[in-house]
């Protein structure tokens, strides 16, 4: 049987989809819309920093970043291939998409640790 | 050189193909079919397939129901073989994955059916034929050795010196005409309901196999016995399966009265009673409809008189569980819901009891030529087939014909290469001429077809009389002449469906002529053949099959062949009385 990485990528994609669905809308709503618009006040720098302090939180954040970025990478890979009709370029597109996701994860790790 | 060439990819043909592959994998077997096998008409069968499995049921009872249902025109040795092998065939299908409906303990479930004294009809909801055909088709995919010619149309049998040597067929997609050499040929081309105007049968059921055999010199048998199913939807002729009545549906006339009680079919009961009322045999039910019509107790619609099938009291849950396809069909094609509305129904041409004359192994009088399924007449159905006997029949006799043909192929060296070549050449030239001559004038195929259908309906419907039948003989003869000059617009070699329609028309005319000839010859009333001018059954004169040959002049010549009786002397058909 030919081995394929797709099942693992798909698992990451699915988990990312769930995480993104559950977490992202409320986070954008708070930090991207309501606070910048002044509807809510920004919390104090220290408060936010305290939130990020526990190791578990930082690890969880890395996980969130990883899953969401793989989710996005996976979808962008297939959608671009389907919309542009460039499935034969899949190996390159896959490397670009997942590569970008990994880069994002590295950034997150550097920031948080 | 093909060892066993099967014409037809329906239930009978596919079962035969597997039988050959299982008997001897070294044989080459081919299935030639004018449609992809899973499109064959077996796919439309709804209600179920009968075979004895229940405790308390016996083979003899199944045999007796079949024989009395067939008004003692069945060959009893054939029936005995049939009922004995049917259970094994249905179990085999179960082992191949057929999704039979089940009892809660996991055993296969059975339901009652018309004319059957016991519950012995296996079913897969109400898509039995669909599941059966797809199971068979998908199972054949397992056998690499089965070659398929999909969308090839067989136009001629190659026969020389009393033996079959192959077929000539058109590859519909390319128009290529090819002579395919074969040691044996099995005809499994299905029925011929399309010779009538109003039928449950699919467009492909044009009696090709009957015509092929008949033209090659093999006799057809019992062609006058045409089954009308009592419950077809008006306009489309879509079948509402007998299972609807088996599950408790009622037939009522325009006054809401369960009229079958007036026709010696028993008294109405709330729950269905076997061999009684709505579970009587189809010939009697269709005849009762005509009587109701004559009494003015049917309802007029733009598509002819109807009575109603009432399923409302069954309730939505039972309908969805047992006969969901009935609901689907009523909703999509009649715009009504059987859970709340009455279903208008009228008798509709459904099944051909007659067909190519064969013995118990499907062998015809032409060496190496076999027939099985609806196109054949092994004589288990007699003058009236019981519902749910046809599906097991195509399996039992498909398998038998397959095994017998395999045996013949192994013991006989083939063939007549010269005959194959020359007959193939002749046929190729003939078909080319039809295309090239290209008449843009002449009668339309569709008009000829319709006139033939109306002629048959008029003369050979549920009730028949001598004069109209004699007239129909003439009409058909003139139609045959006019068909020679039929207009053909399409000269393309690629997927030329008009050419196919024309060949089918000729096949149907052959079949129609034999139906009328046999009906004219049988001056008695039996089962589905009811002569108003000879209303009684005449065992002295007609306890015999009609055997019809094509005379050298091209007209049908009808003779008689005694019925084989074993243990059941002819008696009265009793329904609804214990």
């Amino acid at each position: 049987m030919r081995r394929t990485p797709e099942p693992y990528l798909w698992l990451l994609f699915s988990a990312g989809g769930v995480v993104a669905a559950l977490l992202l809308p409320v986070l954008v709503l708070l930090f991207g819309v309501l606070m910048p618009l002044g509807v809510l006040d920004w919390p104090a720098q220290a408060e936010l920093a305290a939130l990020l302090d526990p190791l578990a939180v930082r690890l969880a954040l890395v996980a969130v970043v990883l899953l969401c970025l793989f989710h996005a990478a996976h979808r962008i890979r297939f959608t671009s291939e389907e919309v542009l009709g460039i499935a034969r370029l899949d190996p390159i597109i896959a490397v670009l998409c997942y590569g970008a996701a990994i880069a994002g994860v590295v950034v997150a790790v550097l920031l948080l640790f | 050189m093909i060892d066993v060439l099967i014409v037809g990819g329906g239930g009978a043909g596919l079962r035969a193909a597997i039988a050959v592959a299982e008997t001897d994998p070294s044989l080459t077997v081919a299935v030639v079919s004018k449609v992809y096998p899973m499109r064959s008409h077996t796919v439309s069968a709804e209600g179920g397939a009968a075979a004895v499995i229940g405790i308390g049921d016996t083979l003899d009872e199944h045999a007796y129901d079949t024989i009395s249902g067939g008004d003692w025109l069945c060959d009893q040795d054939a029936v005995e073989a049939f009922v004995a092998e049917a259970p094994r065939e249905l179990i085999r299908l179960e082992h191949w994955g057929c999704p039979w409906s089940r009892e809660s303990d996991g055993r296969v479930a059975v339901r009652p059916f018309g004319g059957m004294k016991r519950m012995r009809t296996w079913y897969a909801a109400d898509k039995t034929g669909f599941h059966l055909l797809h199971t068979l088709f998908q199972t054949t995919l397992k056998y690499q050795e089965i070659i398929r010619y999909d969308e090839w149309y067989v136009t001629q049998l190659i026969v020389d010196d009393g033996r079959v040597h192959g077929v000539v067929a058109i590859e519909i997609r390319t128009g290529r005409v090819e002579a395919i050499a074969a040691r044996t040929v099995i005809l499994a081309t299905g029925g011929c309901g399309r010779v009538f105007p109003f039928t449950t049968n699919a467009a492909i059921k044009t009696g090709d196999g009957m015509s092929l055999a008949y033209r090659a010199g093999a006799p057809l048998k019992d062609m006058e016995f045409v089954q009308y199913h009592p419950t077809g939807l008006p306009f489309t002729g879509i079948l509402i399966t007998e299972a609807a009545r088996a599950e408790g549906g009622w037939l009522i006339n325009k006054d809401g009265y369960r009229y079958l009680q007036d026709y010696d079919l028993g008294q109405p009961t709330d729950t269905p009673k076997l061999r009684s009322m709505e579970l009587g045999p189809r010939d009697r039910l269709s005849q009762a409809f005509v009587a109701e019509q004559n009494k003015g107790r049917t309802v007029e619609t733009p598509y002819g008189p109807v009575v109603y099938l009432d399923l409302r009291h069954l309730g939505e849950a039972k309908i969805d569980m047992r006969i969901p396809f009935v609901r689907e069909l009523c909703r999509s094609y009649q715009n009504l819901d059987p859970a709340t509305d009455l279903i208008p129904v009228r008798p509709v041409v459904h099944y051909m009891m007659g067909g190519v004359h064969t013995d118990l192994d499907g062998a015809t009088p032409i060496a190496g030529l076999y027939a099985a399924g609806e196109t054949a007449c092994v004589s288990i159905n007699g003058a009236n087939r019981l519902g749910s006997n046809s599906l097991p029949e195509i399996l039992v006799f498909g398998a038998r014909a397959g095994a017998a043909a395999a045996g013949f192929a192994r013991s006989h060296q083939g063939g007549q290469a010269s005959a194959v070549r020359s007959q193939g050449e002749d046929e190729r030239r003939r078909l080319r001429r039809v295309l090239d001559d290209g008449r843009g004038t002449g009668p339309r195929i569709a008009d000829l077809r319709e006139e033939m259908q109306q002629t048959l309906e008029g003369a050979a419907g549920i009730y028949r009389t001598g004069d109209p039948l004699a007239k129909a003989v003439e009409t058909l003869a003139s139609l045959r002449e006019r068909a020679v000059d039929a207009r053909v617009d399409d000269h393309s070699a690629t997927f030329n469906t008009e050419l196919i329609s024309l060949i089918e028309l000729h096949a149907m005319l052959d079949v129609a002529e034999t139906v009328v000839a046999c009906a004219l010859n049988r001056t008695e009333s039996r089962g589905a053949h009811q002569r108003l001018d000879f209303p009684a059954r005449d065992d002295a004169g007609f306890l015999a099959h009609s055997l019809v040959h094509r005379a050298p002049s091209g007209v049908p010549s009808v003779g008689l062949l005694p019925v084989t009786l074993t243990r059941w002397p002819p008696g009265e058909r009793v329904y609804g009385r214990d």
Binding site: P7 | R92, P197, F235, Y333, A446, S492, N496
Partner: protein, 260 residues
């Protein structure tokens, strides 16, 4: 009076009354390989009847107006699967799609998208048949067969587990609706995968189709467009079959010892 006659009579009567002369226009895609390099549309006016399906309209054209029109059909009761075409841009069974749905028309009838066109409305489906064989759509058993006197037990619940996927009539509307298949014909596609699942989920089956399904051309080709399910006339829900197998394949990849 027979049906055809009474139907004619009804039509004639309606015409005499002055409100039944209605017709509807069918714009039919024609492709005749001997003369056309690509399909062209041809219009035909056919009588408008409440009871007519698209297929009745096509047959009217073939029988009365132009005998050269080619299309497939057989059962005209939605079960043989041969009459699928693109009707006003959507894949439909033409025997189960009624003219009345389209108001005053016109109705555009084209061959199913995604398949090579042989002629007029007839497409080439050999690719699907090859795929169907490929997924081993038969009951796989290991070890001894039961004798022909007994059936394998299967409870109604076990039947229910795969029943829906066994309802496929191979009409191929789903392939036509699936953009992945249309772009990449190597994709195994909705119906073939649903049928593989039909056997996988059958309690009597002991086989394994992981090697076929767990591949780029298998379930992983599907990006869950979901149109296969929307157009399926038999409610097979191939999209669901595929997504479910993705879970199975993923679990078996991560936990190779897990059974199906």
């Amino acid at each position: 009076m027979s049906t055809k006659e009474s139907e004619r009579a009804a039509r004639r009567k309606a015409a005499a009354d002055g409100h039944g002369t209605e017709t509807i226009r069918l714009e039919i895609s024609r492709y005749r390989p001997e003369q056309d390099t690509e399909p062209v549309f041809e219009s035909f006016d056919v009588p408008m009847s409440e009871d007519w399906a698209i297929l009745d309209g096509l047959n009217y054209v073939k029988d009365q107006l132009d005998g050269t029109l080619s299309f497939r059909w057989s059962c005209r009761m939605g079960v043989c699967g041969s009459c699928g075409m693109n009707v006003n841009g959507k894949p439909r069974l033409t025997c189960g799609t009624f003219l009345s749905e389209f108001g005053r028309g016109p109705v555009r009838i084209e061959p199913l998208k995604g398949f090579p066109v042989i002629r007029d409305l007839v497409v080439e489906i050999d690719d699907f048949l090859a795929k169907l064989s490929h997924v081993r759509p038969w009951l796989i058993r290991e070890g001894e067969e039961l004798p022909l006197t007994a059936e394998y037990a299967q409870t109604p619940e076990q039947l229910e587990a795969y029943k829906q996927y066994s309802m496929c009539i191979n009409c191929l509307l789903c392939y036509s609706a699936c953009p992945v298949y249309v772009l990449n014909p190597d994709f195994l596609g909705p119906a073939a995968i649903a049928l593989a699942q039909r056997y996988n989920l059958d309690s009597r089956d002991q086989g394994d189709r992981l090697d076929l399904l767990n591949s780029d051309e298998g379930v992983w080709g599907c990006t869950f467009v979901g149109e296969c399910t929307s157009v399926c006339p038999k409610h097979v829900d191939p999209a669901e079959a595929i997504q479910r197998y993705k879970v199975t394949a993923a679990m078996r990849s991560v936990l190779p010892w897990s059974r199906r």
